[in-house]
């Protein structure tokens, strides 16, 4: 599938911002099963400094400094992305989860995608005994890793209520778990916390979901904003597999990856420090439109 992605993010500040540093993680890059035809990031007002680079996990980063007083900041993303995750349908049998755990502990690898980075508590994902016990029900002894992960994902999809506004960007996994509600970020954090607390590597992905209705007539949750899902490590052979607990499906051709990390804090689309008094409002609009010629690739 080929998609055109358009995203506009507008910050409106109550009082002018004199000076601002921002980190933007909004440019998609080539990844496994994903190719970028074109991507552009437009920032207004124009930054006095702008620098491009990559973070530890390989995500594209744009650092900007704004030194003129401004009361709005607009960031626009335009990208054309080809996705081909047909391979996910052909996943073979994965090892027992206990073997995946020992393999992850023993893995002599510190490179960015190594499982060791995704085993431990991180800034926004604590390990919590209640989430652990909940996750453990999906992993009886000897069960294949992916089977257990899919089961956990489907339980979250079924047992949690999708509700905008029930949580915020800083809600912790134990809080949304106790509420049994939230949005994509909360579901992903809960699932990651559950997997890690059993010793299983799990990563957080930010990205986009195709807008509009699927051929089946269903509408995916979270398509009008940025989306988030989970990567679970299924052993050295299978590697990382994307699971979307918000929709209860494997990440496939409807999912476009933007950035990945240990949790939301690693991939927050816009981070920054501004020098200003007063509050701010944020408006975000996202469109992910299939390009009709897409069938040809």
């Amino acid at each position: 599938m080929i998609y055109d992605i358009r995203q506009a993010t507008i910050y409106r500040y109550a009082s002018p911002v004199a000076y601002a540093h921002h980190v933007l993680r909004l440019t998609p890059i080539d990844r496994r099963h994903q190719h970028i035809h074109a991507a552009a990031l437009d920032i207004s007002p124009a930054p006095v400094e702008r620098r491009e680079g990559y973070d530890f996990f390989g995500n594209r980063i744009t650092w900007v400094v704004l030194d003129q007083p401004h009361d709005t900041l607009t960031v626009r993303v335009a990208a054309r992305v080809a996705v081909d995750r047909a391979a996910v349908a052909k996943l073979g049998v994965t090892p027992a989860w206990e073997d995946v755990r020992e393999a992850a502990f023993a893995c002599a690898d510190l490179s960015p995608q190594a499982p060791a980075h995704f085993l431990f508590p991180s800034r926004q994902v604590s390990l919590d005994p209640e989430i652990r016990d909940y996750a453990a029900e999906s992993f009886p002894p000897g069960r294949a890793m992916l089977e257990g992960a899919v089961d956990l994902m489907k339980r979250i999809k079924t047992e949690f209520v999708y509700e905008l506004g029930a949580t915020t960007a800083t809600t912790t996994p134990p809080m949304s778990f106790a509420l049994r509600r939230g949005v994509c970020q909360d579901f992903s954090h809960v699932m990651i916390s559950g997997l890690r607390s059993l010793g299983l590597p799990a990563a957080y992905v930010s990205g986009y979901l195709r807008t509009g209705h699927l051929p089946s007539g269903e509408k995916l949750e979270g398509a009008d904003a940025m989306h988030a899902w989970v990567l679970a490590w299924c052993g050295a052979e299978t590697g990382w597999v994307g699971l979307d607990p918000t929709n209860g499906i494997l990440a496939g051709n409807d999912h476009v990856v933007l950035a990945l990390g240990r949790d939301y804090a690693d991939v927050a689309p816009i981070d920054g420090v501004i020098f200003a008094a007063g509050r701010q409002r944020i408006e975000v609009s996202v469109q992910v439109t299939p390009v009709s010629e897409a069938r040809s690739i």
Binding site: Y11, H21, H22, V23, E49, R51, D55, F56, F57, W63, E102, F105, A106, C107, A108, D109, L110, S111, A114, A116, H117, L119, F120, R123, L127, T168, A169, T170, V183, C184, Q185, S197, L198, G199, L209, E221, G222, A223, D224, A225, M226, H227, A228, T246, A265, A268, P269, I270, D271, G272, V273, I274, F275, A276, A277, R279, Q280, I282, E283, V284
Partner: protein
């Protein structure tokens, strides 16, 4: 007295000193006494000299050391206390003595460890070959919160990641020293060790000299010179980067900054611009190139590290990538502190250095390895299970630990299950039995377990070890952990030299330090605090004078006195020193309210605390005496009135408080060098005094026609004597107004304050190079000109109202010109699917 007699006397004294120092358990090692109850060789001269003093003199000397510490303002912040309570520095007065042979061995072992840790850091943040080659499990690094991914692949400016290193060591029953923990993040203890040394060497000067104790000053001089040499520009100054006054070791940050001549800065003082880090000062931005970092790495840059940090400097990591600022220690250096790392050091030393560790660490096993895990579970009873990665506070060791046999059955099952699930989170360690050293308690020596922190600094191509240390004693003979927060004490470490030691002072030697009359740029935040300190102290003084005037007339019953007191109370009401509904009660009750009501922003408790808290964040700029004056003021105001707040008690307290304020002013005048910082303190005082005097004149000249009102004004403006010398008559309106408002020679007059303000402002650094008046100068000059051209007889109330408005504007303009006013907020994201 014959020789024999004196020897007998000596033996008797010693016996008395040692009585009750029971022979330690055969399993334990005691530093002073061997297993047969004999005093070890290197302790003998010390004990003989101590014994010769006799118990009374010993108590007297030790009390002097405590007084020295208190007078120097050494304190320890109790971390858990939300009110930020502090307690006196707990010095145990008997030093730990180390003989030269043993010290040599410790030194060699410590330098080797420092080199090993630097090599490991270089690999972790570089090629990561140790992980690839299977020498270090990936989880030991990836699971460590101090492994800072944005620093991977970044070359450390200045070439080294580790520049200041500390090891906590203890001695096992067999007499060997072991490292219990490495401190590589931002080790504390150097300043405390210095203070302990100062206090003790002053309390026992004769013994200290006679004992040939190695001096620590040369170590600090070398460290200071080393960091200074990393500056690439002559005008840059080494900074001590502190998380601020709420940190439990803030005293030490301020102390080291003063001692080493470095600039104490907080994250808020710094900004990153295009090509480097700059300090916001009252003279504009000044470059910073070297930082002694006492702020934990993860808080250092909200942009690339913890986004929640309010203490850091946005862009600092990028400045480091750009090779513009040296961090001592590098960001991320804390990764090798982890307990889990201790399991691998013994094998890494031969691999990286080609030699075995000569100073081993306590045996440790990381439980991420299944084979190790099973073995540990079999031996659980005799081992300590602890978190794999450090998370504790700098002054603690081994707090969150459990000895296997102390855990109940259910807890044990839970622990084994947790280890089975995520062994990567745990280490097992050999239980440590610490050796004991003497402490002085109730007139006797008693053995106490301890750990010793030793400090090292990188100098040139090698390492220097501080010949001394910082000992923490447990209060309990059986303690396995030592914890200052829970009442432990500290002690000095004396390294006994074979040879005579050079008589160096702890103060920097003049020949090594270039003369430097300017102390460099004043950070804006420090300037703001000095200014507000000046204002608070002056407002406290004005309020105290009003209270005294009130109490002076409290017993008079004629209507004039009653009305004058009503005027004073009204004035106190306008600056929120009394509750609004208090107007008709007895003067003594009003005075008591001013002295005691905590919730009023104009009452004394608030003013004194506000002055103290402004001063507390600029401790590095204060003489200990000035600090003590403020502390005394706060304590005096806080103390309850024993006999209730009667007039004489109030009078006494007000006079006492005014004396303290006067001594603070004197100390500031006489002991602070008259540089930029002093000028801001002065500006605050002069602005506040001018404001108060305007209000006094308005109230007692224009607010009333009562007899005696002018006398109150003279009293408040402390000008009665001058008036009597000049005019042989009762107070009359025009001469009083002239003296209190317009006389340029009366140090209490309004115009005198304005002249001082003009002089201070003119002496401040100019921000542009044009010759125009600065914005605050414009305000004060306009006001001063109007006052200077006024006649006493023609001054009206409006002029005073205008003057007050101009003074308040002046304060704001000083702030906007010289202080950074900045609020910051993050940019949260709220729209996710």
């Amino acid at each position: 007295m014959g020789l024999l007699d004196s020897a007998t006397q000596e033996a008797e004294d010693l016996e008395q000193l040692l009585s009750g120092y029971y022979c330690p358990l055969p399993r334990n090692f005691d530093e002073m006494m061997d297993h047969d109850g004999r005093v070890r060789e290197h302790w003998r001269p010390f004990l003989n000299m101590l014994a010769a003093l006799g118990p009374d003199e010993i108590n007297h000397r030790f009390a002097a050391a405590d007084r020295h510490l208190r007078d120097s303002g050494v304190f320890y912040r109790v971390y858990e206390d939300p009110a930020g309570a502090v307690r006196p520095w707990p010095l145990s007065h008997v030093p730990l003595l180390i003989n030269p042979t043993e010290w040599q061995e410790l030194k060699t072992g410590l330098v080797q460890r420092a080199e090993l840790l630097e090599a490991i850091l270089a690999d972790i943040y570089g090629p990561a070959a140790l992980v690839r080659d299977g020498r270090l499990p990936a989880g030991v690094i990836a699971g460590n919160p101090e492994f800072l991914r944005p620093l991977v692949g970044v070359q450390p400016p200045g070439g080294a990641r580790l520049r200041f290193y500390a090891a906590d060591v203890g001695r096992s029953p067999d007499g060997r020293w072991w490292v219990l923990g490495d401190r590589t993040q931002a080790p504390s203890g150097a300043g405390y060790a210095l203070e302990n040394r100062l206090a003790l060497s002053r309390a026992l000067p004769d013994i200290y000299r006679a004992m040939r104790v190695e001096r620590v000053a040369p170590f600090f001089q070398a460290f200071q010179a080393e960091l200074s040499s990393l500056n690439r520009r002559d005008d840059s100054r080494v900074c001590v980067l502190t998380p601020g006054a709420m940190n439990e070791t803030y005293f030490e940050h301020a102390y080291l900054a003063r001692y080493l001549g470095f600039l104490l800065v907080e994250g808020e003082d710094l900004t990153v611009r295009d090509d480097g880090v700059f300090i916001r000062t009252v003279s504009g931005l000044k470059r910073a190139e070297v930082m002694l970092r006492r702020l934990d790495s993860d808080f250092a840059d909200p942009l690339e590290l913890s986004a929640r940090s309010r203490l850091g400097v946005p862009g600092l990591v990028q400045a480091i990538r750009n090779d513009t600022v040296v961090m001592a220690n590098a960001l991320g250096s804390g990764v090798v502190e982890a307990r889990a790392m201790l399991s691998f050091l013994p094998a890494l030393a031969p691999a990286l250095l080609g030699s075995e560790l000569t100073l081993p660490n306590v045996a440790t096993w990381w439980l991420g390895d299944p084979a190790v895990r099973d073995e540990v579970i079999d031996r659980l009873d005799e081992l300590v299970i602890a978190p794999a990665f450090t998370g504790e506070l700098p002054a603690h060791i081994d707090r969150p630990m459990m000895l296997g046999k102390d855990i109940d059955r259910a807890g044990r099952a839970r622990l084994i299950e947790a280890i089975g699930r995520r062994g990567i989170d745990f280490v097992a360690q050999e239980a440590v039995t610490l050796s004991t050293t003497p402490a002085w308690e109730n007139g006797k020596l008693v053995p106490r377990p301890f750990i010793m922190r030793l400090l090292l600094a990188r100098v040139g191509d090698g390492w220097r070890v501080m010949p001394g240390g910082f000992v923490r004693l447990a209060e309990d003979i059986d303690a396995r952990a030592v914890n200052l927060q829970q009442g432990g004490r500290t002690a000095d470490v004396w390294i006994i030299s074979d040879e005579p030691v050079a008589e160096t002072t702890l103060l920097p030697t003049p020949d090594r330090i270039a003369i430097n009359r300017a102390t460099g740029a004043l950070p804006s935040r420090a300037a703001a605090n000095l200014f507000w300190l000046g204002r608070y102290v002056e407002r406290a003084e004005a309020t105290l004078r009003l209270v005294r005037a009130l109490v002076n007339r409290a017993t008079e019953s004629d209507q004039a006195a009653v009305d004058i007191n009503a005027g004073i109370i009204a004035l106190l009401g306008t600056w929120d020193a009394v509750p609004p509904d208090i107007l008709n009660v007895k003067p003594a009750l009003v005075a008591a309210a001013v002295l005691q009501q905590r919730e009023l922003a104009g009452a004394l408790p608030y003013l004194a605390s506000a002055a103290q808290s402004a001063a507390s964040v600029i401790r590095d700029r204060f003489s200990p005496d000035a600090w003590r004056a403020l502390t005394e003021l706060v304590e005096m105001i806080k103390a309850p009135f024993e006999q209730g707040p009667n007039e004489s008690a109030i009078f006494e307290r007000v006079n006492g408080a005014l004396r303290i304020v006067a001594s603070f002013s004197g100390l500031a005048q006489e002991n602070m060098s008259q540089l930029t910082g002093w000028r801001f303190l002065e500006l605050g005082r002069r602005v506040e005094r001018a404001l108060a005097t305007c209000r006094f004149v308005r109230q007692f000249v224009f607010g009333t026609d009562l007899d005696g009102a002018l006398d109150v004004l003279l009293e408040l403006a402390d000008s009665q004597i001058t008036y009597r010398l000049r005019y042989v008559m009762v107070a009359a309106r025009a001469p009083v107004v002239d003296l209190v408002a317009l006389d340029p020679n009366n140090p209490r007059s309004i115009i005198y304050q304005l002249a001082r303000i003009e002089a201070h402002l003119a002496a401040l650094p100019k921000r542009g190079d044009d010759s125009r008046l600065s914005p605050p100068e414009q305000v004060v000059t306009a006001l001063a000109t109007r006052m200077r051209t006024a006649e006493a007889a023609s001054i009206d109330e409006q002029l005073l109202i205008d003057a007050e408005a101009a003074l308040m504007k002046l304060s704001d303009v000083i702030a906007s010109t010289y202080f950074t006013t900045r609020e910051r907020s993050e940019a949260p994201w709220e729209s996710l699917g």
